[in-house]
C-alpha cells in the first residue's frame, strides 16, 4: 500500500497569491494513498526541506509529491532531500503549480482546483514509480580532436596540459588551418604565423598529443566515454619516421606547376610537397593525381635523390581503430563558391580575388613575399576596391546570415594595402560596419581616419574590364544614392564564410545535428554553446558558425574544459530514465517480436540486436536491446513498438495512463 506525502509550496507570493495552497493541501489529503499533506511558505528553504525529511522518516512515506515550481528549477533539491531521508530519489516527483498554474492564471477557485488536479495526477504517477539507480558507465580518458586549425590546436593543448591524452586528426598534410594562411591579424596587426607556429610546434612535441596529419575520420561508434573511432591515415608515400624534412625532394620534383591550395591558387607547388615551409609535421606528401611517377610510371626523381631513402611509392592507406571518451569537432569553415555572383567576374578576371587570396598576397610567406602585386601581371595596383558582404546577407543570391569576420578583415586589408602602397587608393564598399568586439570599432576607425581607406556605403552592381582597368559600378547611398564608377587595378571580394563541403557527411558520421547552412548545432544557443546534442561530442571554432580567432580560441578552451570535466571522473553517472526491452521466462524470453521498427526510429542509435541462445550456444531468436549508454530516454521507440515490448523507466506506459485517468 502506497504511503504518499504531498508538500505544497507557496513560493512566497509566486504561488500563494494566486492559489489557495492550504486548500490544495487539504484537498490532496483525501486522495487514496496520501497519508501526509501540508503546505509551507518556502519548501526549498532549509526548514522546508527538513519538513519533507522528517515526514519521510516519521510517516514511512513510499513516495513524495512536491507541488511547487518547475522540476527544471528544484527537482534535484527535493530529490536530494528525499535521498538524505532514506527514500530513493526517483520516488520524489514535482507538480508544477507555478509556471503551469499560478503564473498563467488569475486568482480564483478554478486556479486552486487546477493546482489540486496537478497534484492528484502526480500522486497517481508516484504510486507507480519504482526505485531507480543512476547508471554508471566507464570513461576512456582519451580525447579525439577533429581538425588542426587554431580551434583544434587550442583544444588539444588545453586538454593535454590538463594531463589527458589527445589524438588530433587533421585531413591536410599540415596542421595550422586557415589561420596559417593569414597575413596579419586584427585588431593588433600581429603576424598570424608568428603567434600560430609556436603552438603548432607545441602540439607536435607534447607528450600527451598524438598528431595524425593527412588523416580523416572514417566512422565513429559508441557513446559518451566509450567511443570507437576508425581513422584513415592516408598514404603520404613517404616514411614519416625516416624523413628528415631536408626538402631535396621538393626542390628537385619536375612537376612544378600545380596550383597551391595553401596559397589559395596564387602560387605553385610541386607534386611532392610540404604545404608551407613552417608546416607541422614538416614531412612531404606525394600528390598522386599530379605525380609523374604515378601517371606514367617513370620519373621517381624524389626516390632516387632522397638521402634518407624515405620515399615509399607502394605505401597504402592505413585504418587505425582508437578508443576515445570524448570528441571535439573543430573542422572549420570555407569561403563561398563565387558562382553566386557572376556579375563580379570572379574566375573571369584574374585581378578579382577573394579575401583569402588577398591574405596570401599580403603575407610575408606568400607568393609575392608580402608585396601587394596583382595576379595578372605582377604590377603593384594603384587603386584597390574591397567589397564587403560578397554573398553574405544576400537572400537573393547568397546566404542570409552575416559572416561576421569580413568587416574586420576588410578594414585590415585596406589598412595593410595603405601601409604597403602609400600612394595607393583603397575603396571599401559596405552595407553596415559590424565591428563589435574589444578594440574592433577603434580598428575600423583607424583604417578610415589614419590610414585613409575610403569607405563608400553602397553595393556594387557589376565589375567589368575595360582598357586594362576593372570598372567597379556601384552606388553611394549616403550621398543621395549617386551611382559611382571606380577604375580599379584589383578588386577583393569579402566572400561569405560557409560550412566546409564535408560538414554534412561528417555530422552524419558523428551523429550530431546541423543547421540549414550545414553548420553544426550546439545543444543550446545560449547556455550550452560548446556541447552538441550527442553526449560526449563538443564543438570548437567556425564549424559551428563563422568566428574570428579570439572567439574560436575561447570556444576551444570551453570545449577542452568540458572534456576535462568529463575525464575528471572514473565513471559517468547518468539519469536512469531510459528505455528497456522486457524479458520474460522461457520459452518466450521477451514479448519483442524482433521487428526492429525501434531501431529505425531511434535518433541515438541506441537499439542493438541481441541473440538469445540455448545453454549450448544455439541461437533461439533475435530481439532488441537498448544500450543504456546511448539511450537518452526520448521514448520514440516506446511509441512505435507494436507489441509494447519496450517501456521507459520513470515514464512507463502505465504511469502515463494513470496520470491521464486521474484527470477523468
Amino acid at each position: 500500500m502506497s504511503r504518499i506525502g504531498v508538500f505544497v509550496c507557496h513560493c512566497g507570493e509566486n504561488i500563494g497569491a494566486t492559489v489557495d495552497c492550504a486548500q490544495v493541501a487539504q484537498m490532496s489529503s483525501s486522495i487514496p494513498g496520501v497519508v501526509h499533506s501540508v503546505d509551507y511558505k518556502y519548501m526549498c528553504s532549509d526548514p522546508g526541506q527538513t519538513l519533507i525529511k522528517e515526514a519521510v522518516k516519521e510517516k514511512k512515506l513510499t513516495g513524495v509529491v512536491v507541488a511547487a515550481c518547475s522540476p527544471r528549477m528544484h527537482e534535484p533539491t527535493f530529490r536530494r532531500a528525499c535521498a538524505e531521508a532514506g527514500l530513493n530519489s526517483f520516488l520524489c516527483e514535482m507538480a508544477n503549480i507555478r509556471e503551469h498554474c499560478s503564473w498563467v492564471h488569475e486568482k480564483g477557485d478554478q486556479t486552486t482546483q487546477k493546482a489540486a488536479d496537478l497534484v492528484r495526477v502526480l500522486v497517481e504517477k508516484v504510486k507507480r514509480n519504482r526505485p531507480l539507480r543512476p547508471i554508471q558507465v566507464p570513461v576512456t580518458k582519451t580525447a579525439l580532436v577533429l581538425g588542426g586549425g587554431i580551434a583544434g590546436i587550442q583544444a588539444s593543448l588545453d586538454i593535454a596540459n590538463a594531463g589527458q591524452k589527445v589524438i588530433l586528426v587533421e585531413k591536410d598534410p599540415s596542421i595550422g588551418g586557415h589561420m596559417a594562411q593569414l597575413s596579419e591579424t586584427f585588431p593588433t596587426l600581429d603576424c598570424s604565423q608568428c603567434i600560430l607556429t609556436p603552438r603548432m610546434v607545441e602540439v607536435a612535441q607534447h607528450p600527451n598529443i598524438t598528431l595524425l596529419s593527412y588523416s580523416e575520420l572514417e566512422s565513429l561508434d559508441g557513446f559518451i566515454g566509450n567511443f570507437k573511432a576508425r581513422i584513415r591515415k592516408k598514404a603520404r608515400k613517404v616514411d614519416e619516421k625516416l624523413c628528415t624534412g631536408c626538402a631535396v625532394c621538393t626542390q628537385k620534383c619536375p612537376q612544378k606547376k600545380i596550383p597551391s591550395k595553401f596559397n589559395a591558387g596564387l602560387g605553385m607547388r610541386t607534386a611532392i610537397f610540404v604545404p608551407f615551409p613552417q608546416a607541422v609535421p614538416n614531412k612531404p606528401v606525394i600528390d598522386i593525381e599530379n605525380c609523374r611517377y604515378f601517371k606514367t610510371g617513370k620519373c621517381a626523381v624524389c626516390q632516387k635523390l632522397c638521402p634518407a631513402k624515405a620515399v615509399r611509392f607502394e605505401q597504402e592507406d592505413e585504418i587505425l581503430e582508437i578508443d576515445v571518451g570524448a570528441v571535439v569537432c573543430a573542422t572549420g569553415f570555407d569561403v563561398v563558391n563565387t558562382d553566386f555572383f557572376p556579375e563580379y567576374g570572379y574566375g573571369k578576371y584574374p585581378d578579382v580575388i577573394n579575401g583569402l587570396q588577398y591574405e596570401r598576397l599580403a603575407s610575408a610567406s606568400g607568393p609575392t613575399l608580402g608585396e601587394i602585386r596583382r595576379p595578372s601581371d605582377g604590377k603593384i595596383p594603384e587603386t584597390v576596391v574591397f567589397l564587403a558582404c560578397a554573398g553574405s546577407r544576400d537572400r537573393a543570391k547568397g546566404i542570409d546570415y552575416c559572416s561576421k569576420i569580413c568587416c574586420m578583415y576588410t578594414a585590415k586589408h585596406a589598412m595593410l594595402y595603405r601601409h604597403k602602397v602609400h600612394s595607393g587608393k583603397a575603396y571599401v564598399f559596405y552595407m553596415d560596419i559590424r565591428a563589435g568586439g574589444k578594440m574592433y570599432d577603434e580598428f575600423v576607425r583607424r583604417a578610415i581616419e589614419e590610414d585613409g581607406a575610403i569607405y563608400v556605403r553602397g553595393r556594387v552592381s557589376r565589375i567589368y574590364e575595360r582598357d586594362g582597368k576593372l570598372i567597379v559600378k556601384g552606388a553611394d547611398t549616403l550621398l543621395g544614392g549617386e551611382p559611382i564608377e571606380i577604375k580599379a587595378d584589383m578588386v577583393v571580394l569579402a566572400t561569405a564564410a560557409v560550412a566546409s563541403p564535408a560538414a554534412e557527411e561528417l555530422a552524419q558520421k558523428l551523429h550530431i545535428s546541423y543547421d540549414s547552412y550545414k553548420f553544426f548545432s550546439e545543444a543550446h544557443p545560449k547556455l550550452r554553446p560548446v556541447e552538441t546534442n550527442t553526449a560526449g561530442i563538443f564543438l570548437a571554432g567556425a564549424c559551428q558558425a563563422p568566428k574570428d580567432i579570439p572567439e574560436s580560441v575561447a570556444q576551444a578552451s570551453g570545449a577542452a574544459s568540458k572534456v576535462c570535466g568529463l575525464f575528471s571522473q572514473d565513471q559517468l553517472s547518468r539519469e536512469p530514465l531510459i528505455a528497456a526491452v522486457n524479458r520474460t521466462a522461457p520459452p518466450q524470453y521477451s514479448s519483442c517480436t524482433g521487428c526492429f521498427l525501434c531501431e529505425s526510429v531511434c535518433p541515438y542509435r541506441a537499439i542493438e540486436r541481441e541473440t538469445i541462445t540455448t545453454r549450448g550456444g544455439k541461437p533461439i531468436r533475435t530481439i532488441a536491446r537498448v544500450n543504456p549508454g546511448l539511450c537518452q530516454g526520448c521514448g520514440t521507440c516506446v511509441a512505435v513498438c507494436r507489441v509494447k515490448a519496450i517501456d521507459l523507466d520513470g515514464f512507463s506506459n502505465s504511469q502515463l495512463y494513470a496520470e491521464v485517468r486521474a484527470l477523468a
Binding site: 557572376p342 556579375e343 537573393a396 543570391k397 557589376r462 567589368y464 574590364e465 575595360r466 570598372i471
Partner: protein, 295 residues
C-alpha cells in the same frame, strides 16, 4: 511543337519585323504558333504604374483566353509582355483572394495552368528539336547578345537563366555559327519606357551599351525585346548626340539572325524596316562567303 502565341501590341506595330521574322523562322523549324483569339494589351510599362488591379487584370484576361485554347505553353516574344504575364501568374498564385477578384473583373475562368514562356526558351527547344540541321548559311559574325532587364528579372518571379550573366541567347547564337562575345552590358537597362519622357536619359544609357559592344569588336547587337530594339535602333540619332560620336552597329532580333542562318532573305525577315542599316553587315557576310567559295 505547338504553342499558344500572344504577339502583343509591339509586334503588330513598331516591332512588326520581330513578328515577321518569328513567323518565318517558325514555319521552317516546325514551330506551330496558335495566336490567342481576341487578345488585348498587357498593360506593359504604364499599366502597373497606374493601377495594381488593372495591371493584373489585363494579363489575366490574356492568360484566361490562352487557357481556352487547351495548349500548355504560351509564347510571349515581347520581354515587357512576358514580364507582365509571368508576374501576374506569380502574384495571383500566391494570393487566392486577389485571384478571385481578378476573375470577377475579367468575367472569365482562370486556372493559371498555362506556362508563360519567352522567345529564347521556345526557340532553343525548337531549334534543338528541328532547327540545327536546317542551318543553310552559318551566321558567322561576332555578336553581342543583349538580354535587357525584363527577361531575367526579378529572378524569383521569372526563374529564367542566370540573372546577372545569362547565357541562353549566347548558346542560340553559337548554334547558328555566330561568335557571341563576352561583354559587360548583357543585362543593363536601356531606359525602356523612359524613351518618351526622358529621351536624353535613354540616349545616355544606350550610348554606353553600344560603346561597350563596339569596343569589344561586335558586328551587331542581338536582342529579344521590342523596347530595347526601339531604343537602340530608333533613338540612334539621340544616342549619337549624347555620345558625341557615331555608331554604325546594327541591332537585330534574335529571330532575324536565326532566319538568316536558315537561309531566309532579309526582306522576309523585315530587316529593311530597321533605322540602322543592316546592309553593310549582310554585304560583308556575302563577300566573305564568296571568298570562301572561291578558295
Amino acid at each position: 511543337m505547338k504553342v499558344g502565341y500572344f504577339p502583343g501590341c509591339s509586334l503588330v506595330g513598331s516591332a512588326r519585323e520581330f513578328n515577321e521574322s518569328l513567323q518565318a523562322v517558325s514555319r521552317l523549324i516546325k514551330l506551330d504558333l496558335v495566336e490567342i483569339p481576341d487578345w488585348n494589351c498587357c498593360g506593359a510599362s504604364s499599366g502597373h504604374a497606374a493601377d495594381h488591379l488593372l495591371s493584373l487584370a489585363l494579363p489575366a484576361r490574356i492568360l484566361a483566353l490562352a487557357e481556352k485554347t487547351g495548349l500548355r505553353d504560351l509564347l510571349v516574344p515581347c520581354s515587357a509582355c512576358y514580364n507582365r504575364l509571368i508576374t501576374t501568374v506569380y502574384e495571383l498564385q500566391a494570393n487566392p483572394r486577389l485571384k478571385s477578384e481578378v476573375r470577377e473583373l475579367i468575367e472569365l475562368d482562370l486556372k493559371l495552368d498555362v506556362r508563360v514562356r519567352n522567345v529564347l526558351e521556345v526557340l532553343k527547344e525548337a531549334m534543338e528539336a528541328d532547327g540545327s540541321s536546317r542551318i543553310a548559311k552559318p551566321f558567322a559574325h561576332r555578336v553581342a547578345c543583349y538580354y535587357g532587364c525584363l527577361l531575367v528579372r526579378p529572378p524569383k518571379v521569372v526563374q529564367f537563366d542566370r540573372p546577372e550573366d545569362p547565357t541562353s541567347m549566347d548558346e542560340l547564337m553559337q548554334a547558328i555559327g555566330a561568335e557571341p562575345l563576352d561583354w559587360a552590358f548583357k543585362v543593363e537597362c536601356c531606359g525602356a519606357g523612359m524613351t518618351l519622357a526622358r529621351t536624353e536619359l535613354v540616349a545616355k544609357l544606350c550610348a554606353r551599351i553600344l560603346d561597350d559592344a563596339v569596343a569589344r569588336g561586335a558586328e551587331t547587337l542581338i536582342t529579344a525585346c521590342p523596347m530595347c530594339h526601339a531604343n537602340l535602333d530608333m533613338r540612334r540619332g539621340d544616342i549619337e548626340k549624347a555620345a558625341g560620336r557615331t555608331f554604325t552597329i546594327p541591332v537585330m532580333y534574335v529571330t532575324q539572325a536565326i532566319g538568316l542562318a536558315l537561309g531566309l532573305g532579309p526582306k522576309e525577315l523585315g530587316l529593311h524596316r530597321h533605322m540602322v542599316d543592316c546592309g553593310p553587315l549582310l554585304a560583308a557576310a556575302t563577300q566573305s562567303s564568296t571568298v570562301n567559295l572561291q578558295s
